[in-house]
């Protein structure tokens, strides 16, 4: 045996690695995604594939330009997650070029311009979504009611190709608003939330996903299940999701109690929009969230607060993406201020006083 002393211990390692982590996340997303692809039919499937393909292509190009090994970069699976989450955040019937633009911004700008995996400040998928949301508000808010695959209402294969890849398909006839958008427009027309809520699908339909919205905004039980799976596999901890959802729920409940005509309730906030997906899959993105547990609680609570503020007061009906990006910017500061206490030291870093010492 040849002896090389080139590294210090430990000389054993856990079975975890980056790939396994990333693929576990994908596995957790898979059930909800499959169900949503079924709900929204062929256009959604095409859009999903276009987004993934564009993200992977961007990654390969960026890594090659940077002189890296693109095969290796692709195999870590991080770009697949970005593409996947991005696809879930788009309206299922959005045209292909929206997906491509979003992918370019997500991967090239948000990720590689900052230095690649682990270096990005902002969540790439959310940067992609926000860029297209502010650039193409019409396409990004044209939601369709669910039309499950093979159902009578669902568009056929050829027609679907036309929806995704065709030029300027008018969705006027079929478009619908997401529930958050709906109550916002109704409120603007002077109709109180308490009244407009009555016209929304029932809570159970909302939960199950039979309502218009982005793919990731529906099929909540499956997304929740995926999130719990990640917790069980110890990929994520409870801190960010619980802090975010609890804050959102609390604010919703308290303000709803104060003025039900102006403010939607806590439960409604939890099950609408991207709350659940955001809490478990987007806010918990390793790279852009704080590393310490206390920092994660603050981070999650911040997202919950900002989401509620944006949903309630801002021009956009949904605020998770914005809230996540805003808190991403605060992550380095949170990392600095929320550290664990060092063994044998006080929070300030002084050695613990001995008994009898002053």
């Amino acid at each position: 045996m040849s002896i090389v002393v080139d590294k210090s211990g430990p000389f054993t390692h856990g079975s975890n690695n980056v790939q396994r982590t990333m693929y576990t996340v994908l596995a957790a997303l898979a059930p909800a995604t499959l169900f949503n692809l079924y709900l929204f039919g062929w256009p959604a499937i095409f859009l999903f594939l276009v987004t993934m393909g564009a993200c992977v292509a961007c990654e390969a190009v960026c890594v090659r330009i940077g002189g890296g090994d693109s095969d290796r970069a692709l195999s870590d699976g991080s770009v697949v997650i970005t593409g996947w989450l991005l696809a879930l955040s788009l309206p299922p019937w959005a045209p292909w070029w929206v997906a491509v633009v979003a992918s370019v911004f997500a991967v090239c700008l948000a990720k590689h311009a900052f230095g690649g995996l682990g270096q990005n400040v902002f969540n790439p998928a959310m940067v992609g979504r926000v860029v297209v949301l502010v650039s193409f508000p019409v396409q990004m808010t044209a939601f369709v009611p669910t039309k499950p695959l093979f159902s009578a209402a669902a568009p056929g294969f050829a027609e679907s190709l036309h929806i995704t890849f065709g030029r300027a398909v008018s969705l006027d006839g079929i478009s619908a608003a997401s529930q958050l958008g709906f109550i916002k427009t109704e409120l603007a027309r002077g109709i109180p939330v308490s009244q407009s809520m009555g016209q929304l699908p029932g809570l159970s339909d909302l939960m199950l996903g039979f309502h218009p919205g982005s793919m990731g905004e529906t099929a909540l039980p499956l997304i929740l299940l995926g999130g719990l799976f990640l917790m069980w596999r110890k990929i994520i901890s409870w801190h960010i999701p619980v802090a975010m959802l609890a804050t959102l729920f609390l604010l919703g409940t308290v303000f709803n109690a104060v003025d039900p005509g102006r403010y939607a309730g806590g439960a409604f906030h939890l099950i609408s929009g991207a709350s659940i997906l955001g809490a478990f899959f987007i806010a918990t993105d390793y790279v852009t969230s704080p590393v310490s547990k206390s920092g994660q609680v603050a981070f999650g609570a911040g997202i919950g607060l900002l989401t509620w503020i944006i949903r309630t007061y801002a021009g956009y009906p949904e605020g998770v993406a914005f809230a996540v990006l805003l808190m991403n910017a605060l992550t380095p500061i949170l990392d600095q201020h929320f550290r664990p206490r060092v063994f044998g030291r006080t929070r300030k870093g002084e050695p613990l006083p001995l008994k009898g010492d002053k």
Binding site: G9, P10, V291
Partner: protein
């Protein structure tokens, strides 16, 4: 017994089953033993023999030099072949002064000091002197001279002697076997040490993955009211001194203080056995139990090894270790890689591991994904990800500010890192580098002080000369004046 939680920590694959049921066997006497004069923390021993001397088993070969040091004895009888520099069992591969003893196979004992008849009536000083003269050091791997640690009772009010049988390192079973096979010796040694320390209580802490050891020690401790056994949870690094103290007593040792400051002294079980041998029979530390294990080792074993045995002979006794990717002295978490197969077993060698690539799961480092696992699992409350990134950019002061010197190098962060970043290696580098810079700075300050003193002296001399010259001149002019007046 009520236990207290410790923060962080991991649950590595223990793989102790490879050797845990293998009773300790004796190694056939090697043809030559290589005994470094430094097998302990502190100053190296100074040789008391010369090449050509015939020595007998237990005879002193090197005397401890200074307050923190330990002597070296002949593990068997034979002839001193040489005292020369040889590769140390240390990752640096640097040479260390080594006594080479050619064994004669007679294993003839030298005259040993008389046993201390009733150690519990003997003064603490007598026990400490015996332990010091027997060359006993911390056998868990730290190799701090035990006698010095037994003197802590003189400055601290101690309540508990905590005997460390946690053996939280994977693979290692030497302490487990010692506790099972020599329970009475361990308990006796512990009681003697507690007496020397002036500590009224003895608690023997054993991880619960060693039920037979717990049973054996509990039985041996039965007659003594002040000795109790605590089964501690299986959680690496439970065996770290400060963490074990916290788990048992709930007391957190302040940074830069000793556990003795919170009334606890921790000793290893193998050390207790050595103390028993030294006090009851006058035998110095001549051998130790070593676990030879790892996937590459053909026949893993627990072996009673004379100190100074080359690692190669140990591996040969175990059928060799073909295909070993890493050769480690100690456990896989905190053990040190060995520079050569020819280096000897020393007092702190608890294990020799021949590990395959499949076991080490080594892999090229990937970019950090900031998963925060290292923060979650750090038993010291540090932020390894941040420290490593500072160190990567050579910002050692910043790393020190967030506590790199509080890191105990337990390896939990490196073990758990999905990107296989050698975090502990970064910290080992930083700690060593900071210490080196510190030495440089002190040297520079010393030089400056010397130079200033030198310049001041020159200045004084010059001043004196000037004054003398002035005086001479004054005297001269006075003379001339007087002469003129006379004239």
């Amino acid at each position: 017994m009520k236990l207290f939680p410790i923060m962080g920590g991991i649950h590595p694959d223990y793989r102790k089953e490879m050797t845990s049921e293998k009773p300790v066997v004796a190694l056939p006497l090697p043809a030559a033993l290589y005994l470094p004069l430094q097998q302990h923390m502190g100053a190296p021993a100074s040789a008391t023999v010369a090449a050509g001397d015939r020595v007998r088993k237990g005879q002193l070969l090197g005397r401890g030099a200074g307050a923190v040091s330990a002597p070296v004895h002949a593990p068997t009888s034979g002839t001193i072949k040489a005292i020369t520099e040889m590769t140390a069992p240390h990752p640096s591969g640097l040479p260390t002064m080594t006594i080479i003893l050619e064994t004669d196979g007679k294993d003839e004992w030298a005259d040993l000091p008389a046993p201390i008849d009733d150690p519990f009536a003997a003064p603490s000083q007598a026990i400490r002197e015996r332990v010091a003269a027997s060359g006993i050091v911390g056998m868990g791997g730290a190799t701090f001279p035990s006698a010095v640690k037994l003197g802590l009772g003189t400055q601290h009010k101690l309540e508990i002697l905590l005997l460390n049988g946690a053996e939280c390192e994977p693979y290692l079973t030497c302490d487990d076997r010692i506790m099972r096979e020599h329970a009475d010796a361990v308990v006796d040694g512990a009681r003697i040490m507690a007496h020397a320390l002036g500590a009224p209580r003895v608690i023997i802490a054993i991880e619960t993955n060693k039920p037979q050891a717990i049973e054996a020690i509990t039985k041996a401790a039965q007659p003594f009211a002040n000795v109790s056994v605590a089964g501690v949870p299986v959680q690496y690094p439970m065996g770290a001194e400060r963490h074990l103290t916290q788990a048992i007593t709930g007391r957190e040792t302040p940074a830069r203080k000793l556990t003795a400051d919170v009334g606890v002294v921790v000793h290893n079980v193998a050390t207790a056995r050595a103390v028993h041998e030294a006090v009851r029979f006058g035998r110095p530390l001549l051998s130790r139990v070593v676990t030879v294990s790892g996937g590459a080792v053909v026949e893993p074993k627990n072996i009673e090894v004379p100190l100074g045995t080359p690692v190669a002979e140990l591996l040969a006794f175990c059928g060799g270790a073909p295909g070993a990717k890493r050769l480690v002295s100690g456990g896989p978490m905190m053990g040190q890689p060995l520079p050569s197969l020819q280096v000897p077993v020393v007092k702190g060698t608890s294990g020799i591991l021949g590990l395959t690539l499949a076991e080490t799961r080594e892999s090229e480092p990937q970019p950090c994904i900031r998963c925060g696992s290292c923060v979650t699992y750090c038993p010291c409350g540090l932020v390894p990800v941040e420290m490593a990134s500072f160190i990567r950019h050579e910002k050692l002061e910043e790393a020190a500010k967030i506590g790199v010197q509080d890191c105990v190098s337990c390896g939990s962060c490196s073990y758990i890192c999905p990107s296989h970043i050698p975090l502990v290696h970064f910290f080992n580098y930083a700690k060593g580098r900071i210490a080196a810079l510190d030495r440089d700075r002190r040297k520079l300050e010393q030089t400056k002080a010397l130079v200033e003193a030198h310049n001041a002296r020159l200045e004084r001399l010059a001043q004196a000369k000037r004054e003398a010259a002035a005086r001479a001149k004054a005297a001269q002019s006075e003379n001339t004046d007087a002469g003129r007046a006379n004239a």
